[in-house]
Symmetry: C2
Subunit: 335 residues, 2 copies
């Protein structure tokens, strides 16, 4: 049988970082006894996973580590061993301050207000402002945990099961289960290695990404049963009575927008949520080739081409009319 | 910095098959000019992916190949190059008959009624009945495409982009996006290699697993807005009027059961769907530690511990009452 593979297979996992950065990081760690690690407000799985993952690694190396999130750890990550170590304020004096998964120093809240410039900045956002002395930023990484895994490999750092679980959680959540366009073969291979260290991908996936409260699912149902479509635009709205009827405690759409974005016949979808303060929260999603960030910006919000949001003053009916009018322009490409 | 990795890393991808089987397969292929490949009725992504993937590989080797699915290729796989080659009946004489992803010869429908025993059986189901002359069955593979990839590696078979896309589709769908308990590090590494061959994981994921029709999503909404809970049991039902109101053409629940199984507070969930023929279709899902296959069997259906189904004669209200009664036993472990 003839052999004719028409691709080049890449063997193994290579690290990306230059030796100077790795040595600088190693030097700073080895000289420090008391280390502060911080991540951003409204933390997601990559913020929590990077924070706990790196924190536990440094503890394994014998360091005293404080992990700080101004908003604490969201409920969906309370199964991670190490979440109980996370506090809300920095305490005392540190030899080393590391910020993970923050594009901008403002995103950590007020944690560093009485401290100086951070020493180390580990992040994957393309918009990172290089705010620290040592900036370990790689914007083609799917998640900050991927960069922390670079350090694990380059420096043969210890990885226990709780560390593997924290890192895999960051990979899974920021890649939406390995399906964002920047999720790479390397992402999958790192996940395979973390699985081999014992991390249960199935359980971590369910806990961090699938589980919903009964209230959230009822709330979805109300939004879905009232869905509307016009050309390739799909939308729905939820008012304050819906929220009360479903007993849903949040102010958000409980990820309803992601259910709408699964509809085959749609290019742009949006959800409008009436708020108690007389405004309406709007979330947009767009298929490749469309840009909803401009519409969100028009209403004082922001975001990216495929996903954006805004909070708009006014009553639901009027805001919906205005938002649909602007969104039709994005759909037809006239704006 | 000390090096203390506490796991064993496995390098590379190893094939599982013994040399005799590989040689036997190679021999049969090399002697054949006209090859028939078949998979099962009501084909899923692994059936379609195995069929098209192996078919295109053998065509690359210069063989004349017929691909047969009695039920044709479902719409969600029509983006796969090669789907247009799939026909519904075997035609003429073949040197070699290969059955993929079938545990049992009955599952192929009547395609082989005028032909003899199949030559080769490639499958991953634990219940495979070893019905062919050469049985290449590995039940720890997450999908049949994983076994076909074993052959690719062992025999250095050609893999073009359409082949990589077909194989990745089988991996993704049978592993539910890499999150079934039998999805292994090897599964992730194979996916990484297929990505490197150009297969777009994000697009394949969306097409085969996420996209829904507007009608299906509306139908979901009706089921979700009417959801009920009792202890850790969650259920809902859909009647014929709901189907009409949503304009939903199918007889199934449009995967509503998988939305219900995401509810955090539930151990068992079920959906009841009224049918036009005076019966009710029921689907169950259970969290680990619970067994819904017994309840389904009680009502003449079947399935596995975590997922089962049945079609039950009777009107919706009465069937619902009886089904809930039996399901409560499964929840309390008294059956």
């Amino acid at each position: 049988m003839k052999s004719s593979p028409n691709w080049k297979r890449k063997k193994g996992l290579r690290t990306w970082m230059n030796k100077d950065q790795i040595q600088a990081f190693e030097g700073r760690i080895s000289r420090a006894d008391r280390i502060l690690i911080i991540s951003h407000i409204r933390p997601d799985g990559d913020a929590v996973g990077s924070l706990i993952g790196l924190g536990l690694i440094l503890e394994e190396l014998g360091k005293e580590v404080n992990l700080v999130l101004e908003d604490g750890v969201p409920r969906v990550f309370h199964h991670l061993t190490g979440f109980e170590k996370v506090i809300r304020e920095a305490v005392g004096i540190y030899d080393l301050v590391i910020v993970v998964d923050c594009s901008d120093i403002d995103r950590i809240g007020s944690v560093l207000d009485e401290y100086g410039e951070p020493d180390v900045n580990i992040d994957h956002h393309p918009t990172n402002t290089q705010f620290a002395q040592l900036n370990m930023v790689r914007d083609n990484a799917v998640a900050t945990v991927e960069i922390i895994y670079d350090l694990v490999q380059a420096l043969s750092l210890p990885v226990t099961l709780p560390i593997a679980e924290a890192l895999l959680t960051g990979l899974l959540t920021d890649s939406l289960g390995f399906r964002t366009s920047n999720s790479s073969p390397r992402t999958l291979r790192i996940a395979a290695e973390l699985q081999e260290m014992g991390a249960n991908l199935q359980v971590l996936y369910r806990k961090a990404m699938l589980e919903k409260s009964l209230e959230a699912v009822k709330y979805w149902g109300q939004g879905l049963s009232r869905i509307q479509m016009e050309n390739r635009l799909v939308w729905t709205s939820l008012n304050l009575e819906d929220r009360k009827a479903a007993d849903y405690p949040g102010r958000d759409d409980a990820d309803l927008i992601n259910v709408l974005s699964r509809i085959r016949e749609t290019d742009i979808c949006l959800v409008l949520i009436e708020q108690t303060n007389g405004s309406v929260k709007v979330s947009w999603r767009a298929q490749p080739g469309f840009d909803v960030s401009k519409v969100a910006t028009h209403f004082g919000g922001g975001g990216h081409k495929p996903a954006a949001g805004a909070e708009i003053r006014g009553d639901l009916a009027r805001v919906q009319e205005e938002v649909l009018e602007e969104t039709r322009k994005a759909l037809s490409g006239t704006e």
